[in-house]
């Protein structure tokens, strides 16, 4: 009979653990069984995913290399506040991380474009026509560089054009052709891909620090160094001509 006493009696088992459950209660307020392991995992998951999202979004914002408070004129954008005490936290982070020294307001203003006038991202393999006029400045220089501002070797050996070198039309406007291959007239050389380079790897490969294309006008001694004065300013149009 020892064996029989250990087997449960043939009646509906009363689970003391389930005694708290009152089936009459509406589901929304019915108390639930505590699940400590599951809750712990949920909290850990929230901590992990939350931190990951926070770090990743901050990294993307900083790596994008585009401060917030920009003034845009067509495809051109300038950050007059970056590198001053009025800068927003993103541009402070971007500028200090890259250790770059901005053009101060009494010196001039840098205006960059990463897309053409139709909004397509600039491609160093293409030819572009930059035509029109710049805001008034005593001197300007135009530079073709990688997406992150890195200069690349060109066929001509120079990487820039200045307002003193270019040929202008009678009305003072100009037309510049940006291309890897030499062009007649105002030619702005675009950096060549560094294929076959040994050692450090090809920085011009997609995603590399020298990839992409960015045009930068630096207007020196220009009246428009403050943001509000940039309203209504005219910048040249960038048109894509042909691609390799």
């Amino acid at each position: 009979m020892n064996v029989a006493s250990k087997t449960p009696t043939a009646q509906v088992p009363v689970h003391s653990e389930a005694a708290w459950y009152e089936p009459d209660m509406p589901a929304i307020i019915a108390p639930r069984r505590p699940t400590p392991i599951r809750s712990l995992f949920a909290v850990l998951l929230i901590l992990f995913v939350g931190s990951l999202l926070g770090i990743a979004s901050a990294y993307l914002m900083i790596e994008r290399d585009r401060p917030f408070l920009s003034v845009t004129i067509g495809p051109w954008s300038a950050y007059p506040e970056a590198g001053t005490s009025e800068a927003d936290p993103y541009s402070v982070a971007i500028y200090t991380r890259s250790a770059r020294i901005p053009l101060a307001s009494g010196e001039g203003l840098a205006i960059s474009a990463r897309t053409d006038s139709s909004g397509t991202t600039l491609d160093p393999a293409c030819d572009y026509r930059i035509s029109g006029q710049t805001p008034t400045a005593r001197l300007w220089t135009l530079t073709a560089a990688g997406d992150h501002g890195r200069l690349l070797p060109t066929l001509a050996g120079r990487t820039f054009l200045t307002s003193r070198q270019i040929l202008r039309k009678e009305d003072g406007s100009f037309e510049i052709t940006a291309s890897r291959a030499p062009r007649s007239g105002n030619w702005l050389p675009i950096g060549l891909p560094l294929t076959g380079e040994t050692g450090a790897g090809d920085i011009t490969a997609p995603g590399g620090i020298g990839s992409g294309l960015m045009f930068t006008f630096r207007l020196y001694d220009a009246p428009i160094t403050t943001g509000s004065a940039l309203d209504g300013a005219v910048m040249p149009v960038i048109e894509r001509l042909s691609c390799l």
């Binding site: 999202l53 500028y95 020294i101 901005p102 101060a104 001039g108 200045t162």
Partner: protein, 186 residues
């Protein structure tokens, strides 16, 4: 007390997003304190403090500092006002030059170019408010010819930019930049 599954998911999502926002803000705000190198530190690589050091030409693959204009030549002088007021003098025979003063965080404090300086010769005295009151008691003779500038920061650097109109003037500009003076008022 526990939540219904739907409410639990919502709470989890809100908690995750709030945490993400807090972490995002913390990361962005702490980057300036945690950068391995700053513009102020990088400028020290070109030579001793309290003198203008000519930076190498801005060439592809050999940019002395990021985002400098390749059409310009640059000279930098790092200083700390704890060592006394800093005098800047330069005479650069080019159509355009400019000087920017930056604090330790790399923020522009003051800047001028050869038109706004009033003359083609740069002469600027940089000091703290205390040093200014000392100098006022016994002013040097040429004080009224100087641009006198009080800045609250003590550490900083100056970057002198000079436009090179033609490559054959490159030597001349180099000489002018390396003879530019940045140092104590004597």
């Amino acid at each position: 007390m526990s939540l219904s599954p739907r409410l639990a998911w919502l709470t989890g999502l809100v908690a995750t997003l709030s945490l993400a926002a807090v972490v995002h803000i913390l990361v962005v705000l702490t980057i300036p304190q945690n950068t391995s190198h700053s513009a102020y530190a990088d400028v020290a690589n070109f030579g001793p403090d309290r003198q203008f050091n000519l930076l190498p030409d801005v060439k592809p693959g050999a940019e002395p500092l990021p985002a400098l204009d390749p059409a310009m030549k640059h000279a930098a002088c790092r200083f700390t006002l704890d060592d006394g007021p800093v005098l800047f003098t330069a005479s650069i025979p080019v159509p355009f030059w400019s000087i920017g003063l930056f604090n330790e965080a790399g923020e522009a404090v003051y800047s001028l170019n050869n038109r706004t300086s009033g003359s083609d010769i740069l002469s600027m005295l940089l000091l703290t408010p205390e040093q200014l009151s000392i100098i006022r008691e016994n002013p040097p003779e040429d004080l009224d010819e100087l641009i006198v500038l009080e800045i609250p920061a003590t550490n900083g650097f100056a970057l002198l930019r000079a436009f090179v109109p033609h490559s054959h003037q490159s030597k001349e500009v180099d000489t002018a930049l390396s003879t530019a003076y940045c140092g104590s008022l004597s």
